[in-house]
Amino acid sequence: MIEAHQLTRRYGEFTAVDDVSFAVDEGEIVGILGPNGAGKTTTIRMITGFLPPTSGRVTVGGRDLFADGEAVRRQIGYLPENVALYPEMRVVEYLGYRAQLMGMARGEAASAIGKTIERCLLAEVAGQIIGTLSRGYRQRVALAAAILHEPGMLVLDEPTVGLDPKQIVAIRELIRELGRQHTLLLSTHILPEVELLCDRVMIIDRGRIVASGTPDSLRESWVGTTTLRLTLKEAGRGAAETLAALGGVTAVRPGEEAGSFLLDCAADTDPREEVFRAAVAAGWVLLEMVRERASLEDIFVRLTTGDEAVAGAAGGAEAEPESAAGDSRPESIEEVEP
């Protein structure tokens, strides 16, 4: 349906998107996941034809988005991140304007508007002035405008950002509904959203795709890698070094509380026994030892925090995080699950 070929976008010296290629097939729901500032919006703006790439190209159904212009753009419905609408217009007026802008004839427009209002559950605010609507309704109006002309491809940039939990549930429900009829590309920095909605995920960081696959396959490629969570009492300063020296342990990170450690283990190893013996030998009291399989969230956090050793293990994904620009890393990802 839509293909991105080696998209690169620079703003002056800064490279926002670096050599990104991907394809979205007919009927798929694909999520672009990444921390804020990873290049999601820039990628989406290039996909929708708003921003020309510095190099690379976008094709929709085999036709070039920038060369073939208007006819190709008609196949894409776009919900931008900042949900900009004309505040002085009424909902039906705005949809009427959009229909006319899309080149629909009067009768065609009227039936499309009626249908869209119903699909987006806007009937009760159809006559209201957009400026008076809540953020949730505005999001739905913008979404209605995006699907009005029945585009084959729907591109949603952060469709749930800025909504309250109840509105998020409603908009997700609507997106899932739309996913049955449209090819969907959506960006988000919220993990559960991807798991809930998407067939396939691309994790993007610092302008590059660092991993991609179905949520399950991503998890699967990480099944080999496990994390041991330890809580030790009376562990001295050298504990971390001792643990790191154990066979199969690739990295030791401090846990949330004093005396707790997170041990990343290489695939197909189980250092639990060695940990126990080391604890006995060193005279530590072992309060807790839990083996955890990597969640999608762990994968995401590790892939996007520039941990080379871990990121390099991502099965098949091109992962080359550079430490140069790594100062502004996000602390954690936002969890908004009602």
Binding site: F50, E70, Y97, G103
Partner: protein, 246 residues
């Protein structure tokens, strides 16, 4: 065509649903009404020279220019700047509509609104026709000049609005383009060489308007307005297409 109409209609609606339109309309009527009244009372004085009131009204007071140079920036400053500032430009430019259609649609809306602003002044001519003979030819050509020169300044405003996301900057920029367009004719007096003198004389908008008010329609001037307006609109469309600025 349909998408151009969509933009035109939306902009007109935006004009009439915003208080600015009424403020501008009221100011324009106030100034024009006062000028008309002054002219009529001046001509009523037996010591005054002979003249047609509307000829004076269109061509021969400086108020006309004060109003025009103020109206053009105010009417056009919002057109593209606001779309950029609020972000609606994103869904507008990703819709299947060319930059040229967006620019022309918005320009035509501004021009329509501008004509609407001048419409009430037709009443002056009607009032005059009840008390004396009105020569409708010069009145018509006066309005032609109002629309032609107004259209030129509005096109400058559309260009300015395409260059900035700030309405204030757009308005100042319009003034910076419209001011010299208006004033370039005055340079005529600074040159002794025939060619330059003649050139600046040709470009003098106040002189154009003076002729229009007398009923003289010079097609070269109309060509000048239309071609320079078209140039401004073309540049505005190019500025809109230069997406690297966003």
């Amino acid at each position: 065509m349909r998408s151009l109409m969509a933009i035109l209609k939306r902009e007109l609606r935006a004009y009439f649903f915003a208080p600015l339109a009424y403020v501008v309309a009221a100011l324009l009527l106030l100034v024009n009404g006062a000028v008309f009244w002054l002219i009529v009372s001046y001509l009523n004085d037996p010591r005054a020279g002979i003249g047609a009131p509307l000829e004076l009204f269109f061509g021969q007071t400086v108020f006309f220019w004060l109003v025009l140079l103020f109206v053009a920036p105010v009417v056009t400053m919002r057109l593209l700047s606001e779309e950029r500032r609020s972000g609606t430009i994103e869904v507008l430019m990703t819709a299947p509509v060319s930059e040229a259609k967006v620019v022309v649609g918005k320009y035509l809306a501004a021009l329509t609104f501008y004509v609407f602003l001048w419409l009430p002044t037709v009443v002056y001519a009607i009032i005059l026709s009840r008390y004396s003979e009105v020569d409708w030819g010069p009145v018509g050509s006066g309005y032609l000049g109002v629309v032609g020169i107004g259209g030129l300044l509005l096109a400058a405003g559309v260009l300015a609005s395409s260059l900035s996301r700030s309405q204030l900057v757009a308005a100042v920029l319009t003034f910076a383009i419209a001011g010299p367009l208006f004033a370039v004719g005055f340079l005529e007096f600074l040159f002794t060489g025939d060619v330059l003198r003649e050139l600046f004389g040709y470009l003098s908008l106040p002189r154009h308007m003076e002729d229009f008010s007398r009923g003289i329609v010079d097609s070269r001037r109309l060509v000048y307005y239309v071609s320079v307006s078209a140039l401004f609109l073309f540049l505005a469309a190019r500025a809109l297409a230069a997406k690297k600025w966003r």
